[in-house]
């Protein structure tokens, strides 16, 4: 029983070393660690972890296969519900989902489900026979178009392909993966080694991805429906960055986190052999406290900047995953809490030289239950910096909603869809960040899977 008390910890790259490179931070389990950790699972009769997984992976079942040392079988169990296990094992917020509901966590520490998923996926990738051809179901004669090759679109497309649909994904950028390639940095989610490989698995099921097609511009939703597709799934994410609306925000050196991360992740600015320019400055200030803010800060740090995160509430309210905050702190990122920028100041050439900030204190709880930050009068001060990265969240891009009649959106620009993903236009389904606003990879995948089921029912009932 004593074995069950302590959770196996996966090793990380040393903080001092990793702060200077873009290699993956977490090194993952080896076989012994995986076997040990898998043996901790109680194999509950009514597993709460499965219910709290947005794609309902049969967690105790795959972990028991791991414990038996049958990693191929474990991979097969996961594959029934997720086509992107190496990605989810790395970027899911397990602490609030599967691991957060693990019974062991009540008294002790939860099973490291995320690390086990990652281990199984990586092991399977490295060891599965090269000629392991997946069986493709017979095509059922129906075509579905998916907009966006991010996690939601990929999950929807692979489920539909498994059901026999001919699926085409349309991607606006030149590389497939959506936020997995433009947003999440290499040091959390390797692109060539992990993302590209898992997307290749989706392609192997018969899904086609057409890059460089901007739906709403190159083609419209109506064009797709008139052009032979029986249904459309919109998984176009939430790509529109927010700015603060403060003076000086258009100075040279003010970025949206989206731009900063896209230049570095998709366009590989950190590599000398790519032409993409980026300025991380000697000093960088990141405004915001979410996962994207942590990603931007840790990227700026790796590009050589002395980096500070400015957030208007306290450390306790930071919306980012605890693990990301912890990693950022370990790497030497400064945190200026209860601080909010009021103006960006420039030099005579229009380059950023400082941010004027004001101190905040926490007042009464707002609608979300979080205590709202209130400015402390007269507490303004200047923080010297070369670069400011605004990481204040994103909202869905209006390109599709504004070019499609009858597709309702809410006030925040999110597409209106019911729990199955059905929008206000028959035959048009949507899910992921395009519907919810910025959320997580796994919630987007869950929405994609639900919609795949609803699309199947819709087409069959036509």
């Amino acid at each position: 029983m004593a074995e069950r008390l302590s959770r196996t910890v996966a090793p990380n790259q040393d903080p001092k070393v990793r702060a200077t490179n873009f290699e993956e931070v977490c090194l993952g389990f080896d076989k012994e660690m995986a076997l040990r950790e898998a043996s901790r699972c109680l194999n509950c009769k009514n597993p709460r972890c499965v219910a709290s997984c947005p794609v309902n992976i049969q967690i105790p079942e795959f972990i028991s296969k791991v414990a038996q040392g049958d990693f191929t079988a474990a991979a097969d169990v996961i594959a029934r519900d997720s086509s992107l296990p190496a990605i989810c094992g790395r970027v899911c917020p397990q602490e609030t989902q599967c691991e957060g509901s693990c019974v062991l966590g009540v008294k002790f520490e939860p099973v490291a489900i995320g690390q086990l998923e990652r281990f199984v996926a990586d092991w399977n990738r490295a060891n599965k026979p090269a000629d392991a051809v997946k069986e493709r179901p017979a095509l059922n004669g129906h075509k579905v178009a998916v907009v966006g090759s991010g996690p939601s679109g990929l999950a929807c497309a692979s489920d539909l392909a498994k059901m026999g649909y001919e699926v085409t994904i349309f991607e606006a950028l030149h590389r497939a993966g959506g936020v997995l390639v433009y947003g999440i940095p290499e040091f959390r989610l390797p692109k060539d080694k992990i993302v590209e490989k898992e997307i290749a698995d989706v392609l192997a099921m018969g899904v086609e991805i057409k890059t460089n097609v901007v739906v709403g511009r190159t083609v419209t939703i109506d064009g797709l429906l008139d052009g032979g597709y029986d249904a459309v799934y919109i998984g176009s994410g939430a790509g529109l960055p927010r700015f603060m609306g403060i003076p000086g925000e258009n100075l040279n050196g003010v970025y949206s986190a989206n731009e900063f991360l896209t230049r570095n992740n998709l366009m590989k600015a950190y590599r000398n052999d790519y032409l993409t320019p980026i300025n991380a400055g000697k000093k960088a200030v990141i405004v915001g406290g979410g996962n994207v803010a942590m990603d931007a800060a840790r990227t700026a740090l790796r590009l050589g900047a002395d980096t500070t995160i400015v957030y208007r509430r306290t450390e306790k309210e930071l919306p980012a995953r605890r693990e990301e905050v912890h990693h950022a702190m370990e790497e030497g990122i400064h945190f200026a809490m209860l601080t909010n920028p009021v103006e960006v100041l420039g030099d005579e050439n229009g380059n950023v030289k400082a941010v004027r900030c004001i101190k905040m204190e926490l007042g009464e709880p707002d609608q979300s239950g979080r205590r709202s930050p209130v400015e402390i009068p007269g507490s303004e001060f200047e923080m010297e910096t070369d670069i400011v990265i605004m990481s204040l969240g994103t909202s869905p891009n209006p390109l599709i909603s504004s070019t499609t009649d009858g597709l309702d959106t809410c006030r925040r620009g999110c597409l209106v869809a019911d729990e199955t993903g059905a929008t206000t236009r028959p035959g048009v389904f949507a899910g992921g960040d395009a519907v919810t606003g910025a959320a997580t990879v796994i919630l987007a995948m869950g929405a994609g899977r639900k919609a795949a089921k609803a699309i199947d029912e819709y087409i069959k009932s036509k």
């Binding site: 606006a172 030149h174 040279n252 989206n258 731009e259 320019p277 891009n397």
Partner: protein, 294 residues
């Protein structure tokens, strides 16, 4: 895909290419732009669409070699293919939504400066085909730098040429020629569209305002994705921040903060200079040079 079917060197630094891109060609309208990435390691370069042919499945781009990525684009030859071409991006010109009556009763004057002369072509052509009277003022520093003369002559009603040094046509810059046409020749323009370098558009707007002609400009800002995702293309119009890629690229020129736009364009000046020097050494075999053009 994205094969270069035809290449023509218009000046030693400006090339015209006809590129295979069927979906894009079928959807393009005047005023829109596209993004080209020459190869895996290149930047995404926004270029205004200079012509499109849905039947042939082609688009025409005109590129001035100013930095590493545009030098690379221009060094590619017929038969080569770009890694990526995406579009059409941005909004079409306002006038494509006008009714016929309004178009027919309009007299447009296009101010075409430098490499901006090329994107004037599809707009002038579209308007003339739809019954508008279209004047084009084509300007350059000197005669040798004039491009698109024949194309524009065929696409518009009246072509006027201005050179700063007087080596061809009117002696003076584009705004001066506009003033001359209105004040001395009595031309009554109802709409003005200026496309060219930021500084030329800035002074064109001032002149159009002085002459009381509504003026539209097409902003060629820095961009990454071109779909509203990054905000690199932020411009201040009428005191508000707008994204040139999705809110533009065309704006009412009157209230554009050109000084800010010019400053933002130079954001990566030092890095671009270094990258350009490196690429100039390695890619010195452009067809223009091979053919002995200076």
């Amino acid at each position: 895909m994205y094969k270069i079917l035809k290449k023509e060197c218009l000046t030693p630094t400006i090339t015209k290419m006809v590129v295979e891109a069927p979906m894009l060609a079928a959807a393009a309208l005047p005023g829109q732009f596209l993004i080209v990435r020459a190869n895996e390691k290149g930047e995404r370069i926004p270029l205004t669409i200079s012509d499109y042919n849905a039947a042939a499945g082609t688009v025409t781009i005109v590129t001035q070699a100013v930095g590493a990525s545009t030098i690379t684009i221009n060094s590619m030859n017929e038969g080569d293919a770009f890694a990526d071409v995406v579009g059409p991006l941005g909004n079409p010109s306002e006038f494509v939504k006008w009714d016929e009556e309004k178009i027919r009763s309009s007299r447009f004057v296009f101010l075409a400066g430098g490499v901006g002369s090329a994107p004037v072509y599809p707009q002038a052509k579209w308007l003339k085909e739809h019954g508008a009277t279209v004047d084009v003022i084509l300007g350059a520093r000197t005669k040798d730098l004039l491009i698109y003369v024949d194309d524009l002559r065929s696409a518009c009603t009246n072509l006027h040429i201005a050179t700063d040094d007087g080596s061809f046509g009117f002696k003076g810059n584009i705004p001066a020629m506009l003033e001359h046409l209105v004040v001395n020749e009595g031309c009554q323009f109802t709409e003005c569209v200026a496309i060219g370098p930021m500084i030329m558009m800035k002074f064109s707007v001032l002149m159009a305002q002085k002459l009381n002609i509504p003026v539209t400009v097409s902003l060629n800002t820095l961009m990454v994705d071109g779909t509203g995702m990054c905000g690199a293309c932020r411009v201040t119009v009428d005191g508000k921040t707008r994204f040139a890629c999705v809110d533009g690229p065309e704006f009412d020129g009157t209230n554009v903060d050109f000084d800010e736009a010019m400053r933002r364009q130079k954001q990566y000046f030092e890095q671009e200079r270094q990258a350009k020097a490196a690429v100039e050494e390695s890619e010195a075999d452009c067809a223009c040079k091979q053919r002995g053009l200076k």
